[in-house]
């Protein structure tokens, strides 16, 4: 195990930021700490880095306890949300900083530093910016320079705080993929904090879902998506339709072919687990209210009349061609079939 957190707790005044966090992160993983804002994910990252100290609990990096070690001794690379590049230094000097502050015995000479910095600049594909100052760079470039600077000291663990948070959408997409590839290349255990579940799914090999200072679930993206441990995870990851048995939904849920479960009375249904057919009989209750083109998928918004005459909105998603083949449009009646649901209490 590369990173082990043992019973980490942290209070800020009356506010419990983290409550008894236990976490094992295997060597070489790219882990997303995912959760809504205020869930404690950044605090947890800063505790791993040593920028913040836990009230209770222990931190182990590569098998060594580092709980009481200051950040500079922990051999971590930290990439700050707003990059925190040294604004009075060139890009080159920024990356060289970690090498130049090493104690004399370990410090490489200037030729070696030069070679290493250019190697890192090539790694982040920005060698041509060596002489620029941070203020002359775009957000995406700053991000990559910050990463190169963190990598210069060959950290055993790389920690990234909302690495894509301050970037615009198109740059973010490119950088996500780039980070994933870079991680494949370097294979250094990395943790990044994000509130964006799509980003976590796309980049991470492991996701840790945090909520209100607790770990809700840890697992691979497909694990978490296909087998959410609880209602919070199911709602937070991807889109979900939520129906409660015992309320007005019971009747039509049974008609939709959904097997009633032994336990649980709240059904979480992924939009792609809802099948539609053009209604042939008058019994069908659902009306196609609207549909949106999401690219490869079509999202259909349905209104389903319940027994009391109110309406439930549900979303279904299907590939483009399938939607075309159904030949349905706004206002049509449709029959709803639910293939699969997760049941929670």
């Amino acid at each position: 195990m590369s990173i082990i957190l043992n019973n980490i707790s942290k209070q800020f005044g009356d506010f419990t930021a983290l409550a008894n966090i236990n976490l094992d992160i295997p060597e070489g993983e790219l882990v997303a700490l995912l959760g809504p804002s205020g869930c404690g994910k950044t605090t947890l990252l800063r505790i791993i880095a040593g920028l913040e100290h836990a009230d209770r609990g222990q931190v182990f990096l590569k098998g060594n306890e580092v709980t009481d070690q200051p950040v500079k001794k922990r051999q971590i690379g930290f990439v700050f949300q707003h990059y925190a590049l040294f604004r009075h230094m060139t890009v080159f000097d920024n990356i060289a900083f970690g090498l130049r502050v090493k104690p004399k015995k370990e410090r490489p000479n200037e030729t070696e530093i030069k070679k290493k910095v250019h190697a890192l600049l090539n790694l982040v594909q920005l060698d041509w910016l060596a002489g620029r100052f941070p203020e002359q760079l775009s957000g995406g470039q700053r991000q990559r320079i910050a990463l190169a600077r963190a990598l210069a000291v060959e950290p055993s663990v790389l920690l990234l705080d909302e690495p894509f948070g301050a970037l615009d959408a198109s740059v973010r997409k490119d950088l996500r993929l780039w980070l994933r590839h870079l991680h494949h290349e370097l294979n250094v255990t990395s943790i990044f904090v994000t509130h964006d579940q799509e980003e976590a799914m796309e980049v991470a090999s492991q996701i840790v879902v945090l909520n209100k200072g607790h770990v809700e679930q840890q697992g691979s993206p497909s694990d978490i998506y296909d087998h959410p441990a609880n209602a919070f995870v199911s709602r937070f990851i991807g889109h979900t339709n939520v129906f409660e048995l015992g309320q007005q939904d019971t009747f039509w849920l049974k008609n939709s072919g959904l097997p009633t479960p032994e336990t649980g009375k709240v059904a979480h249904v992924r939009p792609h687990n809802i099948e539609l057919e053009k209604a042939t009989d008058e019994g069908a209750q659902a009306i196609l209210k609207d549909w949106q083109h999401l690219g490869a998928l079509i999202r259909v918004e349905l209104h389903n009349k319940d027994a009391d005459g109110g309406a439930v909105t549900l979303f279904a998603e299907m590939p483009n061609e399938q939607f075309k083949a159904l030949q349905i449009d706004k206002g049509d009646r449709v029959a709803v079939r639910i293939r699969h649901a997760h049941w929670f209490h």
Binding site: A49, L51, P70, V71, K72, I76, G77, F78, F80, H82, A84, L85, F86, R87, H88, M89, T90, F97, G98, V101, K102, R132, F133, P134, E135, Q136, R149, A150, A152, V153
Partner: protein, 275 residues
């Protein structure tokens, strides 16, 4: 086609600025220049090369530069304390910093002289422990100049320190730098331009200071006589041309020094990519 500006009111604004500068700065200064021209070159040169005048210039500029340097360092520490650490009574201390701005300089001078003179509260102590007399010696001048210059330094550094992104310090620490390295390589370069501005302001104020200095200086010709005092002395002897001649040279010297400080600042900013 007339030039158009995004901000309206360019004409009235520039007119006001020019009129103001003329009335308050340029016309009085030209009057001084004209008055000096009443002297022949030889007379002018004779006044300036007078040993007592040269001594007073040395006293003034050496004292002002040392006082500004000390105020620069102390001011930095005070600003750092005020910005970085929470402590009880912080607001009160913050308000005290500005006091030298408001205090009549003569009052400040008398108070400083009383305390730092050989039988004064602190003067006695310093004399006993270090064997150094402060008041009525050139050192007293420096003390008075530090007193009046310090607020300038604190007030110019404070906002820059407040804006300083502390994540840069965390980044330095995460890269393995210790506190000293972080301070020298990361914090100082970002605060240095503001410190230089504070230094320049404290220096300019110290060079022209009269009220507080004369009470503590002792005013011994050749030793602790400052240029402003010499000017007053000349005025009292109705030697107006002589007084303006000294004033003019003082103005030119100060201007050159401030210009140099500005150039140094510009160079620092360019080197740090902040232009």
């Amino acid at each position: 086609m007339p030039q158009s500006h995004i901000m309206p009111g360019f004409r009235p604004a520039i007119s006001f600025t020019l009129v103001y500068l003329s009335l308050i700065v340029l016309i009085p200064l030209s009057a001084m220049l004209l008055k000096t021209f009443q002297l022949s070159w030889d007379e002018f040169w004779a006044i300036l090369t007078n040993a007592r005048v040269i001594a007073s210039f040395r006293v003034t500029f050496v004292s002002a530069l040392s006082a500004a340097a000390v105020a620069g360092i102390f001011g930095f520490i005070i600003a750092w304390t005020l910005v970085r650490y929470p402590f009880p009574g912080k607001r009160l201390l913050d308000a005290l910093i500005d006091l030298p701005f408001a205090l009549p300089t003569a009052v400040a001078g008398i108070v400083l002289a009383t305390i730092y003179q050989p039988n004064g509260v602190i003067g006695k102590l310093v004399l006993a422990v270090f064997g150094v007399q402060i008041a009525y010696k050139p050192l007293g001048i420096v003390f008075a100049m530090i007193f009046i210059g310090l607020p300038f330094v604190v007030r110019t550094i404070e906002p820059v320190l407040q804006e300083f992104d502390t994540a840069m310090e965390e980044a330095a620490a995460s890269l393995g730098a210790n506190r000293l390295q972080t301070f020298i390589k990361v914090i100082l370069p970002n605060i240095l331009p503001a410190t230089l501005t504070g230094f320049a302001l404290a220096f300019a104020r110290a060079v022209g200071e009269y009220g507080s200095v004369i009470f503590i200086a002792g005013n011994m010709p050749y030793i602790s006589e400052i240029v402003p005092l010499l000017i007053i002395t000349k005025l009292e002897q109705y030697d107006y041309a002589g007084a303006t001649a000294i004033g003019l040279v003082m103005l030119i010297l100060s201007f050159i020094l401030l210009l140099l400080i500005n150039l140094l600042q510009g160079w620092l900013r360019r080197r740090n990519g902040q232009l």
